[in-house]
Symmetry: C2
Subunit: 457 residues, 2 copies
């Protein structure tokens, strides 16, 4: 243990904060650990919330990784719920908080601080959003409110504003509850984080499942009925009935506390850290949705809030602040999502993103089968690779299909990690047997085609 | 095109030979290509044959990648069936053959030769193996004979000799046809290519599916009835009823022709090549089951006959002999197999193999869930990692489970390709979403545990 580190304060009791606290506890059984959490929720798997609504997950307790009692009793953490941090004093090394139940203020000193303040849902300044049947989904409480509303009020039509990951997952969840779902999306396509060759498959699939897509349509207004509840949504000039509305416009990092304290933010707007997860202040670490990451494939800072990253960053922060040594080298901008039967994976940059960055790139799109011949479970799977025109280094990959999306996304993630060229990726000895993959795996098919477009460097 | 290369002769019309011929044709539309094939089968996906018997694949034509007519008419290849090569003359650059239909001999000159002579089933010198209901499975003809026998004679009990990939796949195929299957295996476990922590899961699973396992039991004899048909099998002193017998004892490389001609074999007993797939003779290339490969993870020559490797080696051979430049750097000893509902994957070395090679290694076994929480489709998945005790470089990985085996096997294959340490693999940004993977992917869980056993180098 480092000399003089006796007290750790963690702001935020979600994946990142608790991973940091748990790692520090394992390194140093004597460390005093205080976790300040604004809400009454700890250790909630936010990514699992849509499945609590769809019914795949039955009990709220199943999305809680470690209950608060276990954190307190088994891991010896002083977890304080309803404690909202008001400010961080880097010089005096203390944080002030307000107990939201008693409204009393207090302060606690730290030797090391972990900012794991997370992110919050974007709520645009649009009329009607404060109606009781307008929901967001970024806490267990919100998930349970949606579940209860659906059960008790039996809404028939739902409007989801935003066609990204959460929007699509919730379109599935609400459809499974018998609702007719309309997705309102400002961009011309759902999944704005993907290129058109991929999103068109996603759109076809969700439409087949009965979802109505209102694309290129900005949310203008939520219209309320006499009881003050949302009754319809106006978007792109059209009015759509809405017995409930879900805002799925994405999230923003909670950086206000850190910023006010003088901790440096990155160009992405999230907290900047080194690869030990240390911030600009030597005693303060950051982890999870509130901080940015290094993208290994493209060598730039990005802000991609994900539970898997939060866990890793938290563990690295917890290790380094308690005498260990770990690094979080970065991410490959890997993400995956399921909408009904279709999987949607990506790594690195899309072609749109690469061109916006001014990169000289080429791309290929292939749509082979996921498994050999007529093996049961074989489906068409579409891959797009984006790569440097000169030399062929992979810049990004996208995968959409009903089968085999995880494996191909992970192979591309490994490829991005190593900054490989399409020629070299094409040499991977990927697993082959007819019930799993064709002799030429879809990744290799895409690479074989890509190689032909590469100019020698 | 290289000067003076006008005529290509290919021995063997399976994956490797035809991949070479196809690539050479694309490079050089004027090349004269002769393909000599001993049987009347071309372009058969051997790995798909068990699924033709299980009924997943209905039509024999579905396991034929390219029909012989297309090879002749569209790709301009002179494909000669029933042509058995008798000898190769490296000095005069010609091969002699016998037309098995007319029994006439002939010869053909080459500028470049591809030996794609494949492999053949092992048949031990044991009494009774020539009975008509004793089968092997290494050609479409054999697959159709088994299918017909099962349909016409309605056998009730089958004995499969050998508990490797084909043995397990055929146990599934025959069970699906209503037969009661016994696997006779000389070793104490099925899947001798895996360690015990994995094979025990496979054994439990196939037993649950009704398969009888006779382990540590050497085949002594196949007993015939009065009609000369197999009626029972004696193995390890026990007699088991057998209305049919399948020999699944593995394969051997067909190297006799090459060896007699003076082409160098490797220590594995298969044909040695450089990474352009050239043999010890400058005009002769080899590809597929008849030749060995370089294992990238362990830097040694291995003989692991697989369709995926055959395709790649053939393509590289075909490119290099027709004026292109390609390399086949090697394999990572990746393999995967499905038996009933269970997937079985491996890369690199098992612990048994590593210890036999005298390597100072450690291992970990983990059995997490394949997907997050209670998501539908989540199953236990077992991973074993074998790695160098000092430094932690991955030596091999094994994966068994009902879900997610392809993705984890492929990630380990990519890791072996890059000779990564368990610490570094643990940093991969693998795809995370509850319906696909837990926030800590099973590969990362295994690496996190493995890191604790690594001594600094």
């Amino acid at each position: 243990m480092p000399t003089g580190v006796n007290r750790l304060v963690v702001i935020g009791a979600s994946a990142a904060g608790l991973s940091a606290a748990a790692k520090a506890r394992r390194n140093d059984p004597g460390l005093k650990i205080t976790v300040l959490e604004k809400t009454d929720e700890v250790s909630v798997g936010l990514c699992q919330l849509p499945y609590l609504i769809s019914g795949y997950i039955k009990e709220p307790s199943e999305v809680v990784a470690v209950p608060v009692e276990a954190l307190r009793e088994k891991r010896g953490m002083d977890v304080r719920l309803h404690h909202e941090v008001q400010s961080i004093d880097l010089t005096k090394k203390k944080v002030t908080f307000r107990d939201l139940e008693t409204q009393k203020e207090g302060e606690v000193s730290y030797d090391r601080l972990v900012a794991a303040t997370g992110s919050r849902s974007i709520r645009p300044p649009i009329p009607g959003l404060s109606a009781p049947n307008v929901f967001a989904l970024h806490s267990l409480g919100e998930a349970l409110a949606i579940r209860e509303y659906v059960k008790d009020r039996a809404p028939k039509e739902a409007v989801i504003v935003g066609g990204g990951y959460i929007g699509l997952e919730m379109a599935e969840a609400l459809t499974r509850n018998g609702l007719r779902v309309t997705i309102v999306e400002m961009l011309p396509n759902v999944m704005g984080t993907m290129d058109d060759e991929l999103t068109e498959l996603v759109e076809d699939h969700v439409r087949e499942q009965g979802v109505n897509l209102l694309l290129s349509s900005r949310l203008d207004e939520v219209r309320l009925n006499q009881e003050g509840c949302a009754a319809s949504v106006v978007a792109g000039g059209k009015e759509v009935r809405a017995d409930m509305v879900l805002l799925a416009l994405g999230v923003r990092p909670n950086v206000e506390l850190a910023k006010a304290a003088g901790i440096k933010l990155g160009a992405t707007g999230a907290i900047a850290t080194d690869w030990k997860q240390k911030t600009s202040d030597d005693s303060v670490f950051a982890a999870g949705d509130c901080c940015e990451s290094h993208d290994l494939g493209t060598d730039r800072k990005v802000w991609i809030p994900l539970g898997s990253t939060a866990n890793k960053q938290g563990k690295v922060a917890g290790d380094n602040l308690s005498g260990g040594y770990s690094v979080f080298r970065g991410i490959t901008s890997t993400a995956i999502c399921k909408a009904f039967e279709i999987g949607i994976g990506r790594v690195g940059l899309t072609e749109k993103e690469a061109k916006k960055l001014g990169l000289d790139c080429e791309s290929v799109v292939v749509t082979p089968r996921s498994r050999a011949g007529k093996c049961p479970g074989a489906r068409m799977i579409r891959l797009k690779l984006v790569f440097e025109r000169v030399g062929g280094r992979l810049l990004g990959g996208q995968v959409v299909g009903e089968d085999g999306v995880l494996a191909r996304t992970d192979v591309l993630a490994c490829s991005m990690y190593h900054r490989m060229t399409v020629e070299e990726i094409g040499r991977f000895d990927l697993a082959y047997a007819p019930p799993f993959a064709p002799a030429w795996d879809p990744v290799l098919v895409a690479c074989n085609l890509a190689v032909k477009k590469v100019k020698p460097s």
